[in-house]
Protein backbone atom coordinates (compact mmCIF):
# COMPACT_ATOMS: atom_id res chain seq x y z
CA UNK A 1 0.00 0.00 0.00
CA UNK A 2 1.53 3.33 -1.00
CA UNK A 3 2.03 5.90 1.71
CA UNK A 4 2.44 9.62 1.60
CA UNK A 5 5.70 10.75 3.24
CA UNK A 6 4.09 14.07 4.12
CA UNK A 7 1.48 12.51 6.35
CA UNK A 8 3.62 12.40 9.51
CA UNK A 9 6.65 14.43 10.49
CA UNK A 10 9.79 12.40 11.12
CA UNK A 11 10.46 14.03 14.50
CA UNK A 12 8.68 12.85 17.66
CA UNK A 13 5.39 14.70 18.23
CA UNK A 14 5.29 17.39 20.89
CA UNK A 15 3.05 16.85 23.94
CA UNK A 16 -0.59 17.65 23.46
CA UNK A 17 -1.87 20.78 25.24
CA UNK A 18 -3.26 20.32 28.77
CA UNK A 19 -6.68 21.69 27.89
CA UNK A 20 -7.09 19.44 24.87
CA UNK A 21 -5.78 16.44 26.82
CA UNK A 22 -8.29 17.14 29.60
CA UNK A 23 -11.07 17.39 27.07
CA UNK A 24 -10.09 14.05 25.53
CA UNK A 25 -9.93 12.52 29.03
CA UNK A 26 -13.34 13.79 30.18
CA UNK A 27 -15.38 10.88 28.69
CA UNK A 28 -13.05 8.40 30.38
CA UNK A 29 -13.42 10.21 33.73
CA UNK A 30 -17.22 10.00 33.50
CA UNK A 31 -17.00 6.35 32.40
CA UNK A 32 -14.66 5.56 35.34
CA UNK A 33 -17.14 6.99 37.84
CA UNK A 34 -19.96 5.05 36.21
CA UNK A 35 -18.04 1.77 36.22
CA UNK A 36 -16.87 2.23 39.80
CA UNK A 37 -20.49 2.31 40.90
CA UNK A 38 -21.14 6.02 41.32
CA UNK A 39 -24.70 5.90 40.10
CA UNK A 40 -27.87 7.41 41.54
CA UNK A 41 -29.25 5.08 44.20
CA UNK A 42 -26.00 3.13 44.66
CA UNK A 43 -25.28 1.95 48.23
CA UNK A 44 -22.66 3.97 50.15
CA UNK A 45 -19.85 2.17 51.96
CA UNK A 46 -16.99 4.46 53.03
CA UNK A 47 -14.07 2.04 52.44
CA UNK A 48 -15.28 0.72 49.10
CA UNK A 49 -16.16 4.27 48.01
CA UNK A 50 -12.61 5.43 48.76
CA UNK A 51 -11.23 2.43 46.84
CA UNK A 52 -13.53 3.23 43.91
CA UNK A 53 -12.61 6.93 43.89
CA UNK A 54 -8.88 6.12 44.02
CA UNK A 55 -9.27 3.63 41.15
CA UNK A 56 -11.35 6.01 39.02
CA UNK A 57 -8.77 8.78 39.51
CA UNK A 58 -5.92 6.36 38.81
CA UNK A 59 -7.41 5.12 35.54
CA UNK A 60 -8.36 8.66 34.48
CA UNK A 61 -4.90 10.01 35.28
CA UNK A 62 -3.21 7.29 33.23
CA UNK A 63 -5.48 8.03 30.27
CA UNK A 64 -4.76 11.73 30.63
CA UNK A 65 -1.03 10.99 30.49
CA UNK A 66 -1.58 8.87 27.36
CA UNK A 67 -3.34 11.81 25.77
CA UNK A 68 -0.84 14.40 26.93
CA UNK A 69 2.34 12.49 26.08
CA UNK A 70 0.91 10.77 22.98
CA UNK A 71 2.63 7.59 24.21
CA UNK A 72 0.80 4.47 25.31
CA UNK A 73 3.06 1.75 26.59
CA UNK A 74 4.47 3.08 29.84
CA UNK A 75 1.08 4.37 31.10
CA UNK A 76 -0.67 1.17 30.14
CA UNK A 77 2.10 -0.75 31.89
CA UNK A 78 1.43 1.10 35.15
CA UNK A 79 -2.21 -0.01 34.96
CA UNK A 80 -1.29 -3.52 33.93
CA UNK A 81 1.31 -4.07 36.64
CA UNK A 82 -1.09 -2.66 39.23
CA UNK A 83 -3.70 -5.12 38.00
CA UNK A 84 -1.18 -7.98 38.22
CA UNK A 85 -0.29 -7.06 41.81
CA UNK A 86 -3.74 -6.17 43.12
CA UNK A 87 -5.63 -9.11 41.62
CA UNK A 88 -3.87 -11.72 43.79
CA UNK A 89 -4.24 -9.48 46.86
CA UNK A 90 -8.00 -9.16 46.48
CA UNK A 91 -8.54 -12.71 45.23
CA UNK A 92 -6.43 -14.46 47.86
CA UNK A 93 -7.99 -12.34 50.61
CA UNK A 94 -11.45 -13.39 49.44
CA UNK A 95 -10.42 -17.05 49.36
CA UNK A 96 -8.96 -16.90 52.86
CA UNK A 97 -12.06 -15.19 54.23
CA UNK A 98 -14.49 -17.54 52.49
CA UNK A 99 -12.74 -20.89 52.81
CA UNK A 100 -9.62 -20.32 54.88
CA UNK A 101 -7.20 -21.68 52.28
CA UNK A 102 -5.89 -21.04 48.76
CA UNK A 103 -6.24 -24.74 48.01
CA UNK A 104 -9.51 -25.72 46.30
CA UNK A 105 -11.19 -28.30 48.56
CA UNK A 106 -12.88 -31.15 46.73
CA UNK A 107 -16.19 -30.11 48.37
CA UNK A 108 -16.04 -26.75 46.57
CA UNK A 109 -15.40 -28.47 43.24
CA UNK A 110 -18.35 -30.82 43.76
CA UNK A 111 -20.55 -27.88 44.76
CA UNK A 112 -19.51 -26.12 41.51
CA UNK A 113 -17.98 -23.20 43.35
CA UNK A 114 -14.55 -23.18 41.72
CA UNK A 115 -14.00 -19.67 40.34
CA UNK A 116 -13.64 -19.78 36.57
CA UNK A 117 -10.89 -17.71 34.98
CA UNK A 118 -10.47 -17.25 31.23
CA UNK A 119 -7.46 -19.59 30.84
CA UNK A 120 -9.45 -22.83 30.35
CA UNK A 121 -11.77 -21.39 27.67
CA UNK A 122 -9.90 -22.96 24.70
CA UNK A 123 -9.61 -26.26 26.58
CA UNK A 124 -13.35 -26.57 27.06
CA UNK A 125 -14.33 -26.19 23.43
CA UNK A 126 -13.65 -29.71 22.08
CA UNK A 127 -15.23 -31.66 24.98
CA UNK A 128 -18.20 -29.27 24.89
CA UNK A 129 -18.62 -29.63 21.14
CA UNK A 130 -18.28 -33.42 21.12
CA UNK A 131 -20.05 -34.42 24.35
CA UNK A 132 -21.90 -31.27 25.50
CA UNK A 133 -19.86 -31.50 28.69
CA UNK A 134 -17.92 -28.74 30.40
CA UNK A 135 -14.85 -30.32 31.91
CA UNK A 136 -14.52 -27.81 34.72
CA UNK A 137 -15.67 -28.10 38.34
CA UNK A 138 -17.68 -24.89 38.26
CA UNK A 139 -21.24 -23.88 37.58
CA UNK A 140 -22.52 -22.65 34.25
CA UNK A 141 -24.85 -19.85 35.17
CA UNK A 142 -23.72 -18.36 38.47
CA UNK A 143 -23.91 -14.59 38.21
CA UNK A 144 -20.48 -13.63 39.51
CA UNK A 145 -18.12 -16.49 38.91
CA UNK A 146 -19.99 -18.79 36.57
CA UNK A 147 -18.52 -20.16 33.39
CA UNK A 148 -21.17 -18.41 31.24
CA UNK A 149 -20.42 -15.06 32.89
CA UNK A 150 -16.70 -15.23 32.15
CA UNK A 151 -17.19 -16.58 28.62
CA UNK A 152 -19.69 -13.76 27.90
CA UNK A 153 -17.25 -11.17 29.17
CA UNK A 154 -14.41 -12.71 27.19
CA UNK A 155 -16.49 -12.72 24.00
CA UNK A 156 -17.35 -9.03 24.32
CA UNK A 157 -13.79 -7.97 25.15
CA UNK A 158 -12.34 -10.13 22.38
CA UNK A 159 -14.63 -8.53 19.80
CA UNK A 160 -13.22 -5.17 20.78
CA UNK A 161 -9.55 -5.89 21.44
CA UNK A 162 -8.61 -9.20 19.83
CA UNK A 163 -5.25 -10.18 21.31
CA UNK A 164 -5.29 -6.82 23.08
CA UNK A 165 -6.90 -8.87 25.88
CA UNK A 166 -3.35 -9.81 26.88
CA UNK A 167 -2.40 -6.15 27.39
CA UNK A 168 -5.59 -4.62 28.78
CA UNK A 169 -7.58 -7.38 30.47
CA UNK A 170 -5.42 -10.33 31.57
CA UNK A 171 -5.04 -10.12 35.35
CA UNK A 172 -1.95 -12.34 35.36
CA UNK A 173 0.37 -10.83 32.72
CA UNK A 174 1.09 -7.72 34.79
CA UNK A 175 3.18 -9.71 37.24
CA UNK A 176 5.76 -10.69 34.65
CA UNK A 177 5.54 -7.32 32.91
CA UNK A 178 6.38 -5.74 36.27
CA UNK A 179 9.30 -8.10 36.83
CA UNK A 180 10.55 -7.46 33.28
CA UNK A 181 10.54 -3.72 33.97
CA UNK A 182 12.91 -4.00 36.96
CA UNK A 183 16.33 -4.44 35.26
CA UNK A 184 17.59 -1.60 33.10
CA UNK A 185 19.04 -3.99 30.49
CA UNK A 186 18.35 -7.57 29.51
CA UNK A 187 20.92 -10.11 30.68
CA UNK A 188 19.87 -12.56 27.97
CA UNK A 189 19.44 -10.86 24.60
CA UNK A 190 19.64 -13.58 22.00
CA UNK A 191 16.39 -15.47 22.01
CA UNK A 192 15.81 -18.23 19.51
CA UNK A 193 12.81 -17.16 17.40
CA UNK A 194 11.56 -20.73 17.29
CA UNK A 195 10.40 -20.35 20.93
CA UNK A 196 7.51 -18.32 19.49
CA UNK A 197 5.89 -21.53 18.30
CA UNK A 198 5.88 -23.11 21.76
CA UNK A 199 2.55 -21.56 22.93
CA UNK A 200 0.86 -23.09 19.87
CA UNK A 201 2.36 -26.47 20.75
CA UNK A 202 1.22 -26.07 24.37
CA UNK A 203 -2.25 -25.05 23.14
CA UNK A 204 -2.55 -28.08 20.86
CA UNK A 205 -1.24 -30.46 23.52
CA UNK A 206 -3.53 -29.03 26.22
CA UNK A 207 -6.63 -29.08 24.01
CA UNK A 208 -6.05 -32.72 23.08
CA UNK A 209 -5.14 -33.72 26.64
CA UNK A 210 -8.21 -31.97 28.02
CA UNK A 211 -10.35 -33.98 25.62
CA UNK A 212 -8.60 -37.25 26.41
CA UNK A 213 -8.38 -36.85 30.19
CA UNK A 214 -11.67 -34.97 30.47
CA UNK A 215 -10.21 -32.32 32.73
CA UNK A 216 -8.83 -28.80 32.15
CA UNK A 217 -5.31 -30.14 31.69
CA UNK A 218 -3.52 -26.80 31.75
CA UNK A 219 -5.20 -25.76 35.00
CA UNK A 220 -4.53 -29.14 36.57
CA UNK A 221 -0.89 -29.42 35.58
CA UNK A 222 0.81 -26.39 34.05
CA UNK A 223 -0.71 -23.03 35.01
CA UNK A 224 2.06 -20.99 36.69
CA UNK A 225 -0.48 -18.57 38.11
CA UNK A 226 -1.94 -21.20 40.41
CA UNK A 227 0.93 -20.11 42.63
CA UNK A 228 -0.71 -16.72 43.18
CA UNK A 229 -4.40 -17.56 42.90
CA UNK A 230 -5.75 -20.95 43.95
CA UNK A 231 -4.35 -24.39 43.52
CA UNK A 232 -5.42 -27.98 43.75
CA UNK A 233 -5.38 -28.84 47.46
CA UNK A 234 -2.52 -31.31 47.94
CA UNK A 235 -4.64 -34.27 49.08
CA UNK A 236 -2.15 -36.84 47.85
CA UNK A 237 1.20 -37.27 46.08
CA UNK A 238 -0.26 -36.21 42.72
CA UNK A 239 -1.56 -32.98 44.26
CA UNK A 240 1.86 -32.33 45.75
CA UNK A 241 3.52 -32.87 42.35
CA UNK A 242 1.01 -30.51 40.72
CA UNK A 243 1.79 -27.77 43.22
CA UNK A 244 5.55 -28.21 42.79
CA UNK A 245 5.06 -27.80 39.01
CA UNK A 246 2.97 -24.64 39.50
CA UNK A 247 5.55 -23.01 41.77
CA UNK A 248 8.51 -24.04 39.56
CA UNK A 249 6.83 -22.67 36.41
CA UNK A 250 5.87 -19.46 38.20
CA UNK A 251 9.41 -18.94 39.46
CA UNK A 252 10.95 -19.73 36.08
CA UNK A 253 8.57 -18.18 33.57
CA UNK A 254 7.06 -15.32 35.55
CA UNK A 255 9.98 -14.21 37.72
CA UNK A 256 13.44 -15.40 36.63
CA UNK A 257 13.15 -15.36 32.82
CA UNK A 258 11.31 -12.01 32.54
CA UNK A 259 14.01 -10.53 34.79
CA UNK A 260 16.79 -11.91 32.59
CA UNK A 261 15.21 -11.20 29.20
CA UNK A 262 12.95 -8.16 29.85
CA UNK A 263 10.24 -10.06 27.98
CA UNK A 264 6.91 -11.53 29.04
CA UNK A 265 8.25 -15.05 28.74
CA UNK A 266 5.20 -16.90 30.07
CA UNK A 267 3.00 -15.07 27.58
CA UNK A 268 5.30 -15.37 24.59
CA UNK A 269 6.65 -18.88 25.16
CA UNK A 270 4.06 -20.82 27.07
CA UNK A 271 0.54 -19.41 27.45
CA UNK A 272 -2.00 -21.50 25.48
CA UNK A 273 -4.73 -18.92 26.02
CA UNK A 274 -2.48 -16.25 24.50
CA UNK A 275 -1.92 -18.43 21.43
CA UNK A 276 -5.67 -19.01 21.15
CA UNK A 277 -6.36 -15.30 21.56
CA UNK A 278 -3.92 -14.51 18.72
CA UNK A 279 -6.45 -15.98 16.30
CA UNK A 280 -8.87 -13.18 17.18
CA UNK A 281 -6.41 -10.55 15.96
CA UNK A 282 -7.74 -11.55 12.56
CA UNK A 283 -11.19 -10.17 13.40
CA UNK A 284 -9.97 -7.11 15.32
CA UNK A 285 -10.16 -3.93 13.27
CA UNK A 286 -7.12 -2.41 15.00
CA UNK A 287 -3.55 -3.43 14.30
CA UNK A 288 0.03 -2.15 14.22
CA UNK A 289 1.69 -1.39 10.88
CA UNK A 290 5.16 -0.37 9.87
CA UNK A 291 5.46 2.34 7.28
CA UNK A 292 8.28 0.96 5.15
CA UNK A 293 9.00 4.31 3.53
CA UNK A 294 10.15 5.53 6.95
CA UNK A 295 11.61 2.36 8.47
CA UNK A 296 15.45 2.19 8.45
CA UNK A 297 15.19 -0.60 9.85
CA UNK A 298 16.93 -0.21 13.23
CA UNK A 299 14.88 -3.01 14.86
CA UNK A 300 14.40 -1.00 18.05
CA UNK A 301 10.75 -2.06 17.81
CA UNK A 302 11.74 -5.71 17.74
CA UNK A 303 13.86 -5.28 20.86
CA UNK A 304 11.15 -3.31 22.64
CA UNK A 305 8.35 -5.77 21.95
CA UNK A 306 7.67 -7.61 25.23
CA UNK A 307 5.95 -10.48 23.45
CA UNK A 308 8.37 -11.33 20.63
CA UNK A 309 5.70 -10.26 18.14
CA UNK A 310 8.12 -8.64 15.70
CA UNK A 311 10.79 -10.33 13.63
CA UNK A 312 13.14 -9.05 10.94
CA UNK A 313 10.90 -10.64 8.35
CA UNK A 314 7.69 -9.16 9.73
CA UNK A 315 9.28 -5.70 9.94
CA UNK A 316 10.33 -6.08 6.31
CA UNK A 317 6.72 -6.96 5.47
CA UNK A 318 5.54 -3.88 7.39
CA UNK A 319 3.49 -5.76 9.95
CA UNK A 320 3.60 -7.43 13.32
CA UNK A 321 3.17 -11.15 13.90
CA UNK A 322 -0.21 -12.65 14.72
CA UNK A 323 0.66 -12.65 18.43
CA UNK A 324 0.79 -8.82 18.67
CA UNK A 325 -1.07 -7.71 21.80
CA UNK A 326 -1.31 -4.01 20.93
CA UNK A 327 0.61 -2.76 23.96
CA UNK A 328 2.10 0.11 21.96
CA UNK A 329 5.76 -0.48 22.94
CA UNK A 330 6.91 -0.61 19.31
CA UNK A 331 5.09 2.61 18.39
CA UNK A 332 6.49 4.53 21.34
CA UNK A 333 10.08 3.43 20.81
CA UNK A 334 10.31 4.14 17.07
CA UNK A 335 12.41 7.30 16.53
CA UNK A 336 11.04 7.82 12.99
CA UNK A 337 7.35 7.25 13.68
CA UNK A 338 7.44 4.35 11.27
CA UNK A 339 5.43 2.03 13.54
CA UNK A 340 1.86 3.24 13.73
CA UNK A 341 -1.58 2.34 15.06
CA UNK A 342 -3.73 1.37 12.12
CA UNK A 343 -7.34 0.68 11.25
CA UNK A 344 -7.70 -2.09 8.70
CA UNK A 345 -8.72 -0.80 5.28
CA UNK A 346 -7.27 2.67 5.76
CA UNK A 347 -4.05 4.02 4.35
CA UNK A 348 -0.98 3.28 6.46
CA UNK A 349 0.24 6.21 8.55
CA UNK A 350 -2.79 8.29 7.54
CA UNK A 351 -3.81 9.94 10.84
CA UNK A 352 -2.47 7.12 13.06
CA UNK A 353 -3.33 9.14 16.17
CA UNK A 354 -6.99 8.82 15.19
CA UNK A 355 -6.58 5.04 15.02
CA UNK A 356 -4.79 5.06 18.39
CA UNK A 357 -7.54 7.14 19.98
CA UNK A 358 -10.32 4.94 18.63
CA UNK A 359 -8.55 1.83 19.92
CA UNK A 360 -7.71 3.37 23.28
CA UNK A 361 -11.23 4.63 23.95
CA UNK A 362 -12.66 1.17 23.42
CA UNK A 363 -9.83 -0.75 25.12
CA UNK A 364 -9.53 1.62 28.07
CA UNK A 365 -13.29 1.67 28.62
CA UNK A 366 -13.22 -2.11 28.97
CA UNK A 367 -9.99 -2.03 30.98
CA UNK A 368 -11.78 0.20 33.49
CA UNK A 369 -14.86 -2.04 33.51
CA UNK A 370 -12.91 -5.27 34.07
CA UNK A 371 -9.40 -4.50 35.32
CA UNK A 372 -10.48 -1.34 37.11
CA UNK A 373 -13.04 -3.26 39.14
CA UNK A 374 -10.37 -5.79 40.08
CA UNK A 375 -7.95 -3.01 41.04
CA UNK A 376 -10.68 -1.43 43.19
CA UNK A 377 -11.14 -4.81 44.89
CA UNK A 378 -7.42 -5.02 45.66
CA UNK A 379 -7.32 -1.44 46.94
CA UNK A 380 -10.38 -2.20 49.08
CA UNK A 381 -8.56 -5.18 50.61
CA UNK A 382 -5.52 -3.06 51.46
CA UNK A 383 -7.69 -0.25 52.89
CA UNK A 384 -9.66 -2.86 54.83
CA UNK A 385 -6.45 -3.92 56.59
CA UNK A 386 -5.28 -0.34 57.18
CA UNK A 387 -8.61 1.06 58.34
Amino acid sequence: MATDARILPLARPSPRGIGRSLLLTLPIFIWSLLMMGFRPGAKFDPVSSIAAILTALFMTMLFFMMMRSRSTYRWRRIFFVSLGILFPIGFIHNLLVMRGTMGIPIEEMIAGRTPFCFMPIPLLILPAALTRTLVFPGSIGSASQGIAGMVGLWLALTLVMGKGWCSYACFFGGIEEGVAAIPSRAKIRKLDPRWRYLPWAVLLAMVLLSLALFEPAYCMWLCPFKAVSEYVAARNTIGLIQNIIFITLFAGLVVVLPFLTKKRTQCSWFCPFGAFQSIFNKISIFEMKIDQSRCKPCLLCQNACPNLSLSKESVARGETLLSCMKCGACVDVCPRQAVVWHIKGTQIAWKPERARLMFLYSAWALAIMFGGTIIAGGVYTILHFIV
Partner: protein, 163 residues
Protein backbone atom coordinates in the same frame (compact mmCIF):
# COMPACT_ATOMS: atom_id res chain seq x y z
CA UNK B 1 -9.59 2.40 -1.48
CA UNK B 2 -11.98 5.08 -0.21
CA UNK B 3 -14.71 2.50 0.33
CA UNK B 4 -12.33 0.26 2.28
CA UNK B 5 -11.27 3.20 4.45
CA UNK B 6 -14.90 4.13 5.09
CA UNK B 7 -15.67 0.55 6.04
CA UNK B 8 -12.60 0.49 8.29
CA UNK B 9 -13.62 3.62 10.16
CA UNK B 10 -17.21 2.39 10.41
CA UNK B 11 -16.00 -0.88 11.94
CA UNK B 12 -13.78 1.05 14.36
CA UNK B 13 -16.74 3.20 15.42
CA UNK B 14 -18.85 0.07 15.89
CA UNK B 15 -16.05 -1.36 18.04
CA UNK B 16 -16.26 1.67 20.35
CA UNK B 17 -20.03 1.20 20.49
CA UNK B 18 -19.57 -2.47 21.40
CA UNK B 19 -17.18 -1.45 24.18
CA UNK B 20 -19.69 1.05 25.57
CA UNK B 21 -22.55 -1.44 25.38
CA UNK B 22 -20.57 -4.30 26.94
CA UNK B 23 -21.28 -3.66 30.65
CA UNK B 24 -24.92 -2.72 30.13
CA UNK B 25 -26.06 -5.13 27.45
CA UNK B 26 -23.59 -7.29 25.59
CA UNK B 27 -21.90 -9.07 28.49
CA UNK B 28 -25.26 -10.12 29.92
CA UNK B 29 -26.60 -11.12 26.51
CA UNK B 30 -23.53 -13.18 25.67
CA UNK B 31 -23.55 -14.80 29.12
CA UNK B 32 -27.23 -15.70 28.83
CA UNK B 33 -26.53 -17.09 25.35
CA UNK B 34 -23.74 -19.31 26.69
CA UNK B 35 -25.87 -20.40 29.66
CA UNK B 36 -28.68 -21.35 27.25
CA UNK B 37 -26.47 -23.77 25.33
CA UNK B 38 -27.30 -27.44 25.96
CA UNK B 39 -24.18 -27.96 28.08
CA UNK B 40 -23.70 -29.50 31.50
CA UNK B 41 -20.80 -29.70 33.95
CA UNK B 42 -19.00 -33.04 33.85
CA UNK B 43 -20.83 -35.45 36.14
CA UNK B 44 -17.55 -36.55 37.71
CA UNK B 45 -17.70 -33.15 39.42
CA UNK B 46 -21.46 -32.65 39.78
CA UNK B 47 -22.31 -36.25 40.71
CA UNK B 48 -24.97 -36.72 38.05
CA UNK B 49 -28.72 -36.14 38.30
CA UNK B 50 -30.72 -37.40 41.27
CA UNK B 51 -32.97 -40.32 40.31
CA UNK B 52 -34.62 -41.33 43.57
CA UNK B 53 -35.09 -40.33 47.19
CA UNK B 54 -35.21 -42.92 49.97
CA UNK B 55 -37.01 -41.59 53.06
CA UNK B 56 -35.31 -42.59 56.30
CA UNK B 57 -37.56 -40.91 58.87
CA UNK B 58 -36.06 -37.59 59.92
CA UNK B 59 -33.65 -37.59 57.03
CA UNK B 60 -33.47 -38.95 53.49
CA UNK B 61 -30.99 -40.43 51.05
CA UNK B 62 -30.85 -39.12 47.49
CA UNK B 63 -29.62 -41.69 44.97
CA UNK B 64 -27.97 -40.30 41.85
CA UNK B 65 -27.64 -41.88 38.43
CA UNK B 66 -24.36 -43.83 38.07
CA UNK B 67 -21.59 -41.74 36.53
CA UNK B 68 -19.44 -43.32 33.84
CA UNK B 69 -16.12 -41.84 32.83
CA UNK B 70 -14.75 -40.91 29.42
CA UNK B 71 -11.67 -41.80 27.38
CA UNK B 72 -8.55 -41.74 29.55
CA UNK B 73 -10.19 -40.09 32.54
CA UNK B 74 -8.36 -41.12 35.69
CA UNK B 75 -11.54 -41.55 37.79
CA UNK B 76 -13.54 -44.78 38.03
CA UNK B 77 -17.31 -44.98 37.48
CA UNK B 78 -19.29 -44.36 40.68
CA UNK B 79 -22.70 -43.68 42.14
CA UNK B 80 -23.38 -40.77 44.51
CA UNK B 81 -25.60 -40.97 47.59
CA UNK B 82 -26.58 -37.84 49.57
CA UNK B 83 -27.62 -37.94 53.22
CA UNK B 84 -29.59 -34.81 54.16
CA UNK B 85 -30.28 -32.70 56.04
CA UNK B 86 -27.14 -33.04 58.14
CA UNK B 87 -28.91 -31.51 61.13
CA UNK B 88 -31.33 -34.46 61.24
CA UNK B 89 -28.67 -37.19 61.04
CA UNK B 90 -27.80 -39.24 64.14
CA UNK B 91 -24.22 -39.14 65.54
CA UNK B 92 -23.53 -42.42 63.76
CA UNK B 93 -25.13 -43.44 60.48
CA UNK B 94 -25.23 -47.05 59.34
CA UNK B 95 -27.77 -47.52 56.56
CA UNK B 96 -28.43 -50.27 54.08
CA UNK B 97 -29.16 -48.65 50.73
CA UNK B 98 -31.00 -50.19 47.79
CA UNK B 99 -29.17 -48.23 45.12
CA UNK B 100 -30.79 -49.88 42.10
CA UNK B 101 -34.34 -49.64 43.45
CA UNK B 102 -34.89 -53.35 42.75
CA UNK B 103 -35.72 -54.30 46.35
CA UNK B 104 -32.27 -55.86 46.83
CA UNK B 105 -29.64 -54.52 49.21
CA UNK B 106 -26.88 -52.67 47.43
CA UNK B 107 -24.46 -51.46 50.09
CA UNK B 108 -24.27 -50.75 53.81
CA UNK B 109 -22.80 -47.29 54.38
CA UNK B 110 -21.45 -46.34 57.82
CA UNK B 111 -19.98 -43.03 58.96
CA UNK B 112 -19.85 -40.78 62.01
CA UNK B 113 -21.40 -37.32 61.86
CA UNK B 114 -19.20 -34.94 63.88
CA UNK B 115 -20.79 -31.81 65.33
CA UNK B 116 -17.95 -29.69 63.91
CA UNK B 117 -18.82 -29.17 60.22
CA UNK B 118 -15.12 -28.82 59.37
CA UNK B 119 -14.09 -32.09 61.03
CA UNK B 120 -12.84 -34.73 58.57
CA UNK B 121 -15.25 -37.50 57.61
CA UNK B 122 -14.47 -41.19 57.05
CA UNK B 123 -16.77 -43.75 55.50
CA UNK B 124 -16.99 -47.54 55.42
CA UNK B 125 -18.95 -49.20 52.66
CA UNK B 126 -19.82 -52.87 52.82
CA UNK B 127 -20.70 -54.26 49.43
CA UNK B 128 -23.90 -56.33 49.39
CA UNK B 129 -24.07 -56.47 45.60
CA UNK B 130 -21.08 -57.35 43.40
CA UNK B 131 -21.83 -54.26 41.32
CA UNK B 132 -20.51 -51.98 44.09
CA UNK B 133 -17.04 -51.83 45.60
CA UNK B 134 -16.42 -51.93 49.32
CA UNK B 135 -14.50 -49.04 50.92
CA UNK B 136 -12.75 -48.92 54.27
CA UNK B 137 -11.99 -45.69 56.13
CA UNK B 138 -12.11 -43.57 53.00
CA UNK B 139 -11.99 -39.76 53.26
CA UNK B 140 -11.81 -37.70 50.11
CA UNK B 141 -9.13 -39.47 48.06
CA UNK B 142 -10.69 -39.16 44.61
CA UNK B 143 -13.86 -37.90 42.97
CA UNK B 144 -15.00 -41.50 42.53
CA UNK B 145 -14.49 -42.66 46.15
CA UNK B 146 -15.14 -40.16 48.86
CA UNK B 147 -17.24 -38.77 51.65
CA UNK B 148 -17.62 -34.99 51.89
CA UNK B 149 -19.95 -32.49 53.43
CA UNK B 150 -21.44 -30.06 50.91
CA UNK B 151 -23.74 -27.43 52.39
CA UNK B 152 -26.47 -29.34 54.27
CA UNK B 153 -25.72 -32.80 52.91
CA UNK B 154 -23.16 -35.53 53.35
CA UNK B 155 -22.20 -37.04 50.00
CA UNK B 156 -20.79 -40.55 49.63
CA UNK B 157 -19.50 -41.78 46.28
CA UNK B 158 -19.32 -45.56 45.91
CA UNK B 159 -17.19 -46.89 43.03
CA UNK B 160 -18.80 -49.38 40.66
CA UNK B 161 -17.05 -52.75 40.50
CA UNK B 162 -18.19 -53.89 37.05
CA UNK B 163 -19.21 -50.90 34.98
Amino acid sequence: MKLRATLGYTAAAITILIALLTPFLLMGTFSKGVAALPLHVDEVYSGGPKVRTIPMGAYSIDVHRPVYTHFLQSEKPFVQLDWKPVSALPRHVSDVVDIDGDGQHGVRVSFDVPSDPKAPLLVNVESMNPRYQAMSNVGKDKFSRLIVRVDNAILVRVPLANP
